[in-house]
């Protein structure tokens, strides 16, 4: 009898205690406990209120986990999103074509925090106006490839392709190209150094390391509609070093080369046109473009000559003003023509303001031959009678895709 009672008590206890802790914590697993609510208000810029916010997609991106949520704004620019906890960048853009002018509205707010202790947030995004560019960045190959014979990473074959995306002749004369500071995108929630006291990115782009310009008097370097301009770090035939690389030593290509500023670069092949190096900071003997997460942009001097441009844009690093290496030429946003922000991880922090690039593009890794390439705008291409028109919403998340092999390897 005693044994039976003991056994029954034991069985009852086991039944009672199984799933005990799950029951105690079941409220922790409800949707309301594992998510937060974001209320978003989009506002068109002053003077452009006639453009509607209805139907505008709003993207919420968790910078830590890579989670993405999309909601649609109503005619009043309002939308609500229930999302997992995290730190979010919220962005939106739209494009309108009127009388051959493409108007782009985009805006972003980063660093929105949703935690179990702060589970609701109100966000207001002031959309910025910008125009689609005539000359755009078409492809950026920065990660290098694998040297077949050594098995090691080969990263000397970096190149950029610019493209005339319009129906009129463009001129490369005095167009400048650079990479933003810091050379690699900040990680783990850190913010870039060229920010204001509130932690917001300053209105422009910090050109770091060296300043490069297409050298011409005004109409020396035409770029026809649908034509490419290839600029490389080392203008040689890299396929002689490893077959899976590219030939960048072709006549008519351009290169970041100056015998004084970049003596460590390969001497360009005959027929390659060197860009003009007009500014440099730091002791480096080569031009540094990150293999991991560069932010590339093209810009103008705004009609100023080089000395005046340097004098007016030279900016010490706000966090390290005494360190010359981290100073930059801070290019005003109206002088930035186009930019593409490349990340290594989804949780990297942006260096470009929304007007330059409202998103980012990420390759799976360096040393594998990947490049980032602009998507074709099928509708605009058809309207242009077959001339390829690339997508340009000033958001590389939408405008770019990752190629398994750089396009010039197919030549």
């Amino acid at each position: 009898m005693k044994i039976k009672n003991l056994l029954y008590t034991a069985i009852a206890s086991l039944i009672l205690f199984s799933s005990c802790i799950q029951e105690l914590r079941k409220d922790d697993f409800k949707d309301e406990a594992i998510s937060g609510l974001v209320k978003i208000q989009l506002k068109m810029p002053q003077g452009y209120e006639q453009f509607s916010t209805e139907g505008m997609k709003i993207l919420l991106l968790d910078n830590t986990s890579g989670l993405e949520y999309t909601v649609i704004a109503d005619a009043n620019g309002y939308a609500e999103a229930r999302v997992a906890f995290g730190t979010y960048s919220i962005s939106s853009e739209s494009k309108y074509t009127e009388n051959k002018t493409i108007s782009i509205f985009n805006g972003m707010q980063s660093g929105l925090r949703l935690t179990p202790e702060e589970n609701t947030a109100n966000v207001s995004i002031d959309l910025k106006y910008s125009k689609s560019s005539q000359i755009i960045i078409k492809e950026f190959y920065y990660g290098g490839c694998q040297n077949i014979s050594t098995g090691k990473n080969y990263a000397k074959d970096v190149y950029v392709i610019l493209y005339n995306n319009s129906e009129e002749v463009a001129y490369l004369d005095s167009l400048c190209i650079g990479v933003a500071y810091p050379w690699n995108a900040p990680t783990t929630g850190k913010i870039p150094e060229f920010t204001d006291v509130n932690g917001n990115l300053m209105p422009g782009a910090p050109n770091s390391g060296m300043g490069w310009m297409f050298d011409g008097t005004g109409k020396d370097l035409p770029l026809q509609p649908g034509e490419d301009a290839v600029i490389s770090l080392n203008a040689i035939d890299h396929t002689k070093i490893t077959a899976n690389s590219v030939n960048l030593g072709k006549q008519g290509y351009f290169t970041f080369y100056d015998p004084v500023l970049t003596p460590q670069h390969s001497t360009p092949e005959a027929g390659v046109i060197p860009l003009k190096g007009f500014w440099k900071t730091g002791p480096s003997k080569s031009y540094v473009i990150s293999n991991l997460s560069p932010a590339l942009f093209i810009y103008t001097t705004g009609g100023r000559d080089i000395e005046e441009f340097i004098a007016q844009t030279y900016t010490p690093n706000p966090k390290n003003p005494s360190q010359a290496l981290s100073a930059c030429l801070f290019v005003e946003k109206d002088n930035v023509v186009d930019g593409v922000e490349c990340f290594r991880n989804n949780n990297d922090t942006k260096r470009f303001i929304p007007e330059i690039d409202n998103g980012f593009i990420r390759t799976p890794g360096n040393g594998q031959g990947y490049s980032v390439h602009r998507k074709i705008d099928e509708e605009a291409t058809a309207a242009a009678g077959g001339r390829i028109v690339y997508q340009d919403t000033n958001n590389s998340s939408n405008d770019f895709y990752v190629r398994d092999k750089a396009s010039l390897t197919e030549n």
Binding site: L6, S19, D31, E68, E118, G151, K152
Partner: protein
């Protein structure tokens, strides 16, 4: 007239002879001692209660020193098992009594070589449910030292106190990029008390465990395209590309509090031993060795029941072993924000803003084993045999708003073995054994609800499938063992033994698409082998 002194001497002689005869008999039986049998005769010896040492029915102290070599060749394996594992070990073990003090001690050293190990970021499998991992097959070397000590003091015929100290130190190192270096240590302290009466023995024990594991991934080579994976729960993961300047670290710290209760009923040859155990753990997971950022915490609750119903007849001992275990694990993700420290110039730190439940798992198992021991003497079987089964149910739920993933697995295991001893006069004896078993399972691999079509954290479907196929596949095993124990000194109970074990495992290969090399790499052959040879000296 009877000489009183002579009578005294004769009485003393008779008593001495009786004691000597008893001792000799006891020593003769000590030549047949094995630790397995001693622990089987007294269930308290394998309980959580160190004070239970006082119930040890073995008449003599016993100690052993041993060495072993163990080799496993895994033609089929789970995602985190190596292709082959070789273990070399040395150890010593002892049950000793000194007046009212009872001691148990064990020291074990082992060195392990693993070939083509993947997806293991901790020294031992399932060390944490939110590990950092990588998938490049490589050699792993492990080294471990384990020390187990129990002391009991018999206060009176009714009461005894005891305490357990367990300590383990282990290291593991992978020899190929991304190479991880792990150090692990575990400390367990458990004070206990027993109370004995004619028909009932009861015991209570408390338990505290602390274990910590450091992980450090480094990368020396030039190869590209390698990744580190940050996984949790049901194989949900993010990843980052490995570069040769990267160092990635983790620290896992676990605190466990618990207790146990024992009750043994004894009525003549019948006994019924019961043990209930409850353990609660908190496992803090940090992203660095400086404890600056706690990225997750796991809460675990485990209940166990073990019961042994025994009838110890003169010629045969029958016992029925019952067990039930229930373990719940909850994984919380910590919301960290990297913020500037107020008042400090350019100094940043991670601050926690709450935790979010991400994953819940429950594992229940129950089983029974019938064991028959036909005696040659109390310690050596003529024949012994076991017949048993075990059922296990695992359920897992992973949630990351708005997605939800569920998995359930049911496993069944049936097994039997028989051992026969053959004595070789007074020199020693052989024990020859055969065993066999069958297991299978079923369940629901992954029920997915994920309305987000792009950009969400991924579930590693290949690992989910490999793990599910491995656990639910039909498997059988058949094996044998042979042990020879040679008596070196019968009077002192010293013997030398050598044992060889072999186990063959077969599987009904699951159907896997030929394009899925990740899964196929874990089901290369339909068999695996395990063999072990060990030598020891008992005294």
């Amino acid at each position: 007239m009877i000489n009183i002194m002579k009578l005294k001497y004769i009485s003393i002689m008779l008593v001495a002879l009786a004691v000597l005869a008893g001792n000799k008999q006891a020593m003769a039986q000590k030549n047949h001692y094995s630790f397995e049998r001693i622990e089987s005769m007294t269930p308290w010896l394998q309980s959580y209660n160190a004070a239970g040492l006082v119930f040890n029915v073995a008449d003599e102290n016993i100690s052993t020193v041993y060495g072993y070599a163990d080799y496993k060749d895994n033609g089929f394996k789970n995602y985190n098992e190596a292709e082959s594992v070789t273990v070399l070990g040395l150890g010593t073990k002892s049950y000793t009594r000194l007046n009212n003090f009872y001691f148990y001690g064990r020291f074990d050293y082992s060195y392990t070589f693993k070939e083509n190990q993947t997806w293991l970021g901790t020294v031992y499998e399932n060390g944490t449910i939110a590990p950092m991992l990588e998938n490049v097959p490589g050699k792993v070397h492990n080294e471990s030292y384990k020390l187990n000590a129990r002391i009991a003091y018999k206060v009176s015929d009714k009461s005894a106190f005891g305490i357990t100290f367990d300590y383990e130190d282990a290291v593991a190192a992978k020899k190929k990029d991304g190479r991880n270096s792990n150090t692990f240590s575990n400390l367990n302290v458990s004070p206990a008390y027993t109370f004995a009466s004619e028909h009932v023995n009861v015991g209570l024990g408390l338990n505290y465990q602390y274990n910590v594991e450091n992980v450090n991934y480094q990368y020396y080579g030039e190869a590209t395209g390698l990744h580190l994976y940050y996984m949790d729960g049901l194989f949900m993961y993010t990843s980052s590309t490995i570069i040769n300047t990267m160092i990635k670290e983790r620290m896992y710290i676990k605190n466990t509090f618990g207790g146990s209760a024992q009750a043994e009923l004894k009525f003549g040859k019948f006994s019924f031993f019961n043990q209930f155990t409850a353990l609660h753990s908190n496992h803090d997971l940090y992203e660095d060795l400086g404890l600056k950022k706690r990225y997750a915490v796991t809460e675990e609750m485990q209940y166990n029941y073990n019961g042994i119903i025994k009838f110890n007849g003169q010629k045969m001992e029958n016992s029925l072993h019952l067990n039930y275990s229930n373990k719940e694990s909850l994984l919380y993700n910590i919301s960290n924000v990297y913020e500037a420290i107020e008042g400090e110039n350019n100094q940043w730190q991670y601050n926690e803003y709450g935790k979010v439940l991400r994953y819940v798992a429950q594992s229940e198992s129950a089983g029974a084993v019938y064991h028959g021991f036909i005696k040659k003497d109390e310690h050596l079987q003529n024949i012994d045999f076991s017949l048993g089964f075990a059922f296990c149910k695992d359920t897992k739920t992973q949630k990351l708003y708005p997605s939800e993933y569920n998995q359930s697995i049911y496993m069944r295991n049936y097994f039997a073995n028989v051992n026969k001893s053959i004595s070789i006069k007074d020199y020693g004896y052989f024990i020859i054994g055969i065993s066999g078993g069958f297991s299978d399972g079923n369940g629901s691999m992954l029920v997915e609800k994920n309305p987000i079509k792009s950009g969400s954290i991924s579930v590693h479907k290949d690992l989910v499938e490999t793990d599910f196929l491995y656990k639910t596949a039909e498997r059988y095993n058949i094996g044998g063992s042979i042990k020879y124990s040679h008596t070196l000194n019968a009077d002192k109970g010293m013997s030398l033994w050598i044992k060889a074990d072999y186990m063959y495992n077969g599987i009904t290969m699951p159907e896997v698409s030929s394009a899925n090399t990740e899964i196929l790499n874990h089901f290369v052959e339909d068999n695996r082998h395990a063999m072990k040879i060990s030598v020891g000296f008992n005294f």
